[in-house]
């Protein structure tokens, strides 16, 4: 279709606003595009430009020199395998749990539902460390894991490399898929399911024929998010891959940036973004053409699908999975903060690392975290940042979701949709570096932002945009346009339609998205590590500093605080917005 044809059609189709009810005003798309340009296009442009700072030599090295195989091609292959496997398995696992919790009469739905959201709250490196505690073999030396300690030799493939990396990522990101799919399932009009049951459809048929297609936008959104997050995760392959020299694109990228070969790192980032963009394009194309409106004006109490004799076996399996993926890593973290000697019980336990006064004989004189000024100020800054970013990202996500669902098919909307997903393909540390490069000096009317809280918020909003946009999109896709059309006919203008109809209906999905964003920001390290200055520390950075100085107990203690803060945020959000806990309302 040519540009002029589109223009003519658009012009002809909208002589008067009320003839295209529910369509968002043009300024919405344009201003969203401008905002996304600032958050996404500019950092990307800066990234690409940097790779050409020495002509094409960086690209020749990365693509075609002797080092290309180990720097790019093998890690790229590994990233694709890990990313795709994780996307499929994590989505399957998360969606299955979501289905059980939201749609069926599974016993203990609240517990299972809560456990299923936790792995995303626990930082991925903590889950990797838990894997290490259980499966570590003699390859590195030093201590061994629990299984090896019992006299059962653990093969290298199970202790290190692609298998444990993928397994840990599946555990971590399954809860992301769970959150998105559960929110979507909870919004499915119960009448549809009941009608099918009344019509005599079996359980399997109801699920396959009705529930599954209805949540397919959420499924594809979850799979895409998981893929993108998994390929850009750095901590897990660095911990579990390095001893067998297993590299992904993200570990190579971070290595290059950390050792000052910034342009090379940026080139790898550009390739990672390009590859993932192709996949996103395909994924978006598969789901954007159909209507998924499922929330009508009415809704009712849901009749749950009966699991019959599978109730208790399903409960046992789900509970075991929840405990292994959440309670075990959490307990390992807590215990790790209490050891007097890192990682061993030789000297017993102590509370020093939490509440002890500075003692020159312990940890070079560092006081317990609750007595550290740095910890207190970092806590305040972290919470403030989490809230600010959650708010900014949610507003953007709401507007993007609205635009995508009400202006579907327009080029502007699909451009906005694709741009909003881009940041997730940029590993945090690369995005942080791009933001430093971009805002290190005054940019037009914007002053140099290095070292300011504003830069953290802007970078955070950019990094979490895909989460907010996807939850906004999944939620918006289910609100039937008829409601708005009715309002339009009744004379309501865009802001009122948005505030009085759209916002209340999508708030469930939106709050879920905001909590995700908050949690992600509170525990994020890669993005902020380069942006944070000593005068405004964040908890994750404090934990990282402790860890890199071998103050393992302090690092674990701070990580426990991060996890608790994230759980608290989730619980508060659930209280404020009861409906975000779809398995709770029966």
């Amino acid at each position: 279709m040519t540009a002029s044809a589109t223009g003519a059609r658009a012009a002809a189709a909208r002589p008067r606003a009320w003839q295209r009810p529910g369509r968002p005003p043009a300024w919405l798309g344009v201003s969203l595009l401008a905002t996304l340009s600032l958050l996404v296009v500019l950092p990307l442009a800066r990234l690409v430009l940097a790779t050409f700072s020495q002509g094409t030599s960086v690209w020749e090295q990365v693509l075609a020199s002797e080092i290309a195989e180990n720097l790019l091609w093998r890690p790229l292959g590994a990233s694709l395998v890990v990313g795709l496997t994780t996307a499929v398995l994590a989505t399957a696992l998360g969606a299955t749990l979501a289905g059980l919790v939201v749609l069926t009469d599974l016993p203990g739905r609240r517990i299972i539902g809560t456990l299923a959201t936790l792995p995303f709250i626990i930082p991925s490196f903590a889950i990797a460390l838990a894997w290490d505690v259980v499966f570590r073999n003699e390859r590195i030396g030093g201590h061994v894991g629990v299984i090896h300690g019992l006299g059962l030799p653990v093969p290298d493939w199970l202790a290190w490399g692609i298998v444990p990396v993928t397994a840990v990522l599946v555990i971590h990101y399954s809860s992301l898929a769970f959150g998105l799919v559960a929110a979507a399932l909870a919004s499915v009009n119960a009448d549809l399911l009941e009608a099918a049951e009344v019509a005599g459809a079996g359980r399997a048929r109801v699920l396959r024929g009705i529930a599954l297609p209805l949540v397919s936008p959420a499924l594809s959104a979850a799979a895409l998010l998981v893929f993108a997050e998994a390929v850009s995760n750095f901590a897990v392959p660095a911990l579990l891959g390095l001893p067998v020299r297993f590299h992904t694109l993200s570990t190579r990228l971070v290595g290059a940036i950390e050792t000052g070969q910034t342009e090379r790192g940026f080139a790898l980032a550009v390739i990672l973004i390009a590859v993932a963009a192709v996949l996103l394009w395909a994924g978006a194309g598969a789901t954007s053409r159909r209507s998924f409106a499922t929330i009508g004006g009415r809704g009712g109490r849901r009749k749950r699908l009966s699991l019959g004799r599978w109730r208790w076996p399903a409960f046992a399996v789900a509970l075991a999975a929840g405990i292994v993926t959440t309670v075990v890593p959490s307990a390992a973290l807590l215990l790790g903060s209490l050891y007097e000697r890192p990682g061993s019980l030789d000297r017993g336990l102590t509370g020093h690392y939490w509440i002890g006064a500075a003692d020159a004989a312990i940890a070079q004189g560092q006081p317990g975290i609750f007595r550290s000024d740095q910890f207190v100020s970092a806590s305040v800054t972290t919470v403030a940042l989490g809230l600010a970013v959650a708010l900014a990202a949610s507003v953007l996500g709401l507007l993007i979701g609205y635009l995508l669902s009400r202006d579907a098919g327009s080029r502007l909307a699909s451009l906005v949709g694709q741009l909003s997903l881009m940041p997730i393909l940029i590993p945090g540390i690369a995005l942080g570096a791009a933001f430093i490069a971009l805002f290190a000096r005054p940019l037009g009317p914007v002053p140099a932002l290095y070292g300011t809280f504003a830069l953290l918020v802007i970078a955070g909003a950019a990094a979490t945009l895909p989460f907010a946009a996807q939850s906004g999109r999944a939620a918006a896709a289910q609100v039937a346009t008829e409601l708005e059309e009715a309002a339009t006919v009744a004379g309501a203008r865009f802001p009122r339609r948005l505030g009085a109809i759209f916002l209340p209906l999508v708030s469930r999905g939106l709050v879920a998205g905001a909590v995700l964003v908050f949690v992600k920001m509170v525990r994020d390290l890669g993005l902020v590590i380069l942006l944070v200055v000593p005068t405004t520390p964040l908890l994750s950075v404090v934990a990282f500093r402790y860890a890199s100085e071998n103050f393992v107990q302090f690092a674990n203690a701070v990580t426990v605080v991060i996890v608790l803060a994230s759980i608290a945020a989730t619980l508060v959000a659930q209280r404020v917005q009861r409906a975000t806990q779809p398995w709770g309302a029966s």
Binding site: A34, N70, V254, T259, G260, Q364, L412, Y450, L530, N550
Partner: protein, 393 residues
């Protein structure tokens, strides 16, 4: 025609934004080329005596320092006890990260840090000092007591190390290795641990030094294998051959020095690995249940030593307090250097001051066989060594 107008607006907005991004992209390069080490107000402080410096520092009230070692926490405590009213705002971050951060601060003109206590001198001297972002401060009282090579281009207070260490509980008779080439033998297959040199600059410096010392590596080869070295195809130096053979012998890479320390040092292991790490980490043996010891006798050398240096940033917000802190960390007039130097007065670290008493439980510096690195030569070869390691798999 509203549709095309919209598109026009979008295109114009995008163009404007991208154009300003491009502007932002070229500007740093353009300015850094013209930026030569500018005359800083160093002279004003060089002429000041200790009392004048202290008075000025009190007015500033604090000093911000980045340190590559956590021992800065002990320095902070001691400094604040000696100079109540002047706060030390200390952050411990790796040298590699300090370099990235200082670059960002200098390019934005938003300078937060006053003092960098840093290693990885090939990059520090080759880039940060070169661009005038880090400047030297040598208190006049130390000029005669520190060898010239540790005063220029930045002042050091001690030497740190990356050397071959072993488990002395498992090998009470001394180092299990006498020649670096033994590490390429079947006996040590999968039993050598090192931090990935592609992630941490100090270890890349170690690999670079081994390549620079290829003549000595060739001699060591002959001593071990009783035949002259024959280089593999595409291999240009004996150092490169050793790195290649070491990787082929299932070298185990780790993320941080602590992982190596625990792997090599943990007591109670039947056959612990050996690994390259920091000699002075031996000080934590009792605390962490380790038995780390340096393999000083290994041929041709156990590893590298390198200076830990001080740089004052260009545009430092607290220039007098910065200099007061450096003076403090150089130590006082007592034979052990007093509280300012105490955190570094440990076996395995070597003071550069000629009047500091040597430690008894450490190998005397004259007998310590690690190669001192050559910052300029190392800077010139670093990238090449990085890329040849990148080719290995």
């Amino acid at each position: 025609m509203r549709g095309s107008l919209t598109r026009l607006t979008i295109a114009a907005t995008l163009l404007a934004l991208v154009a300003s991004a491009c502007g932002g992209g070229t500007a740093p390069g353009a300015t850094t080329i013209t930026a030569t080490p500018a005359p800083t107000p160093t002279d004003r402080f060089a002429a000041m005596d200790q009392q004048a410096l202290e008075a000025e520092a009190r007015k500033e009230g604090q000093v911000v320092v980045y340190s590559f070692t956590s021992r800065i926490a002990a320095v902070k405590k001691a400094f604040e006890e000696k100079y109540p009213g002047i706060t030390v705002n200390a952050t411990d971050i790796s040298s590699t990260e300090q370099i990235t951060r200082i670059k960002a601060e200098q390019e934005s003109g938003n300078v937060k840090v006053d003092v960098a206590y840093i290693s990885d001198v090939p990059v520090v001297f080759g880039e940060l000092v070169q661009k005038g972002w880090l400047a030297s401060y040598v208190p006049s009282s130390f000029k005669a007591r520190v060898p010239k090579q540790y005063q220029e281009p930045l002042l050091a207070n001690r030497l740190s190390t990356k050397v071959l260490m072993y488990n002395e509980q498992a090998h009470p008779g001394g180092p299990p290795v006498s020649n670096l080439w033994e590490l390429t033998d079947a006996r040590w297959k999968g039993k050598v641990v090192m931090v990935d040199p592609l992630v941490r600059g100090d270890y890349l410096d170690l690999m670079t030094e081994i390549v620079l010392r290829s003549d000595e590596m060739a001699k060591a080869y002959e001593a071990h294998f009783k035949k002259p070295i024959a280089l593999g195809s595409g291999v240009k130096t004996a150092g490169e051959q050793w790195i290649r053979d070491l990787y082929k012998n299932d070298l185990i890479l780790a993320k941080s020095t602590d992982v190596v320390n625990a792997a090599v040092g943990k007591t109670g292991q039947a056959s612990p690995p050996v690994g390259f790490t920091t000699y002075s980490d031996r000080r934590d043996n009792a605390k962490n249940g380790w038995a780390l010891q340096v393999a000083n006798t290994v041929t041709p050398a156990p590893g590298i030593s390198f200076p830990a240096v001080f740089g004052v940033t260009k545009g430092a917000p607290h220039p007098a307090a910065a200099r007061l802190l450096i003076t403090f960390m150089m130590g006082d007039e007592t034979p052990t250097g007093g509280p300012g130097f105490a955190p570094f007065y440990v076996p395995g670290d070597y003071a550069v001051r000629t009047d500091i008493q040597a430690l008894k439980d450490a190998i005397p510096f004259a007998e310590f066989r690690a190669w001192p690195i050559d910052a300029a030569k190392s800077f010139a070869r670093r990238q090449e060594v990085n890329d040849l390691i990148l080719k290995l798999k």
